[in-house]
Symmetry: C2
Subunit: 422 residues, 2 copies
């Protein structure tokens, strides 16, 4: 039996989950996989703090070098989260020839080149299944199962907090701020929810996923990002009437040699497999030229689901004779500046003769063709009515230009939500 000595960086809920899995399931796993693990040292901020699982205090240290420089430790597991010092520690571990297993999408997405370079130089392994969608083996799918495919698109619900909020808004007709408050009380959203609700978390994950899908690095700063804070109960309700469900989607597509990568509130048809992915569940829908449509569904967060992915990486790292780096070329990526999709447009338009003609005219001027239009409710006190348009597939730029040309003069409070119906 091969015994591998490992160290942890961090020991919050996820670290405790990993420790717990190794303690309770380690023997069975050793029998199945022929490899066992001994945790030698755990870096924590405060060794005296009470933790979610009983961990021998002799393992705890607040000095990073006791993990990073211990020659006996061959695999370092990182679950500190955040950009720094996690990224620097990951790089130090790799440079020291220690393989790294990490759940840290932020460190990975923001320091991709340096981290990959450090792994390449030393030959150490880099494993990050847990960084995207918790237990769902979507990284393995990309790297180990879809090699024969040209991936044409991927669309994912990859942030559980926003999916919980949107699911409840959809079910209850509730408003964003109301549900956010509940989510915070339940511990499903952070006290400062920005990273989730503004789509940063999803963008980090999409950077990793799309880089693997398209074999070129898609930097996080090139991802179009729009959060869910502007979404209203009215949008959700209007979408329903068109047979559409609102999700925060991470979308990446390769079209005509350029890559689109974007995170934004998105309507999908109620019949789409992603529409029924509710609450804190995650799912990634992938389209490949050979495999066709696939979807991977499961728990995208939580201590044990994330630990499940981390431990599977740990086993993979331990059993590997040599480590494969991600098949992502350093060749710079050509990002699309525009993309086409169906647009849902809601606006308060002046309720005057000729306004609808003029609104329609602005769309027509930009080549945007309207698939359907409804008027909601009655004229308000200011003399405006709520109009909702669904366009045919149209250029994002053209739609925006058309809307700019009517904003103020013909309509106000214009809201655009993209529709993905493929």
């Amino acid at each position: 039996m091969k015994e591998i000595v490992i160290g942890f960086l961090g020991c919050g809920n996820i670290g405790c989950g990993v420790y717990r899995l190794l303690e309770t399931h380690g023997q069975e796993m050793a029998a199945n996989e022929g490899v066992s693990f001994a945790v030698r040292r755990i870096l924590v901020r405060d060794p005296k703090k009470k933790r979610g699982w009983e961990i021998p205090s002799v393992l705890l240290t607040d000095r990073a070098e006791e993990v990073l420089e211990d020659p006996q430790i061959s695999i370092v597991m990182e679950f500190m989260g955040g950009e720094e010092p996690a990224a620097s520690y990951i790089i130090r571990a790799l440079r020291a020839g220690k393989s790294v297993v990490t759940a840290n999408k932020m460190a990975l997405a923001t320091h991709w080149d340096e981290i990959i370079a450090a792994a390449r130089e030393s030959g150490a392994g880099l494993y990050y299944e847990a960084s995207v969608c918790g237990a769902i083996p979507i990284i393995r799918a990309m790297t180990d199962s879809l090699q024969a495919n040209r991936i044409t698109s991927l669309m994912g619900i990859i942030n559980g907090t926003t999916n919980y909020i949107l699911s409840r808004m959809s079910r209850e007709g509730a408003d964003y701020s109301e549900v956010l408050g509940d989510a915070q009380r339940l511990g499903l959203a952070e006290p400062d929810p920005t990273a989730d609700v503004e789509g940063y978390d999803a963008a980090y994950k999409l950077s990793i996923l799309s880089s693997l899908a398209f074999h070129r690095h898609v930097p996080v700063e090139k991802i179009y990002r729009e959060g869910i804070t502007g979404v209203t109960a009215l949008d959700v309700a209007c979408g329903r009437e068109f047979g559409l469900t609102l999700k925060l989607l991470a979308v990446a597509k390769e079209e005509n040699g350029s890559i689109q990568a974007r995170v934004h509130p998105t309507f999908v048809p109620d019949s789409h497999p992603l529409a029924s992915v509710s609450d804190a569940f995650n799912a990634v829908f992938v389209n490949g030229h050979a495999c066709g449509e696939m979807m991977f569904y499961g728990r995208g967060a939580g201590d044990l689901p994330t630990a499940s992915a981390l431990v599977s990486d740990l086993v993979k790292a331990a059993k590997a004779d040599h480590h494969s780096l991600p098949a992502v070329s350093s060749q710079s990526v050509f990002m699309a500046e525009d993309w086409e999709c169906v647009h849902f447009v809601r606006m308060l338009a002046k309720d005057e003769p000729g306004v609808l003609r003029d609104v329609a005219g602005r769309f027509a001027d930009e080549g945007v063709s309207i698939a359907s239009m409804v008027q909601k409710g009655k004229r308000d006190e200011g003399g405006y009515v709520q109009l909702i348009f669904l366009t045919h597939r149209a250029s994002e730029k053209h739609v925006r230009r058309a809307l700019e040309r009517m904003d103020g003069s013909l309509a106000r409070e214009i809201c655009v939500i993209r529709v993905e119906n493929e």
Copy 2:
């Protein structure tokens, strides 16, 4: 660049799909993966037959030894299908030290021990992702991603033909035989549909899946198997009224130390992720103690989806320094002789005073508790009415015994469909 010389056993649609993927996508794959493939010899029944993709005739042979005994060939891909001679060829290839990539669930499920033994002796690799659910990487999920989990249950729609038939019956209220005829005309069902509609195909796949899930070999002959030929439009319609969708499910569970493995028509709640898996799509729903609920969804058949899985195995086999055998112990498995679930029971009961009391009494005698009951339609000419019962979770054996005790005397045409609602 590592170049690997390979041979094919068989070259029907799937073989042509693999050849086509290697020809059209091989260069890109080589750039990504650092390995390329040269097809050296292809065993076919008739080298003169016209095929779906143009294959140089110099590669074709009708002599198996030209593939099995060629020392240059290091990986053999098998897509002949059927038990023999495929199983013997797989074993010969493995014994000769050649790794085998196969899509053949029947050969694998029926000759598991011999095939594994041959691989173990020579150290050659055995790869079979394509044998279950086409493009869906469910084998990888079991072997490479869920190692840290005790799998408690798996439920799958793993036969596309029956799912197509049941989906259409459900949508259109059509009868089994009518839709089967259509499926045959469309090439979605074989002229002799037995292997699909009687659940044999699903049982082979379940044998493989459940062996990996529970780490003990679940022989196909120990799997309870019931096909969809007895399912009526009435059953489908009655299920609908209870909010249930009918699927042919492959179910495997570990409960109290014993394993249940069964293939049968099954109702799932309309809200269950499996309920919306329609037509020729496949999906496997897995429950693990750490990962929680997961689902893998995609195309379970077709030449390119299956080729996608075969080529991913090919890459894996080519890049491996040593090959892992499935973590399945030879320790014999303890199969459950009974299991508990909710039962949907439809019967024609005598429309006489006291009959309902007596029917209810038979259920009660066996400890089967009724959750709901409805009467459908009117008394027929023979004086019978259609009754439908939904039980609470109850022992399969007890339900059967209760029904035997009312069959003939109180009711006739009794039909039982299990309900999985977890």
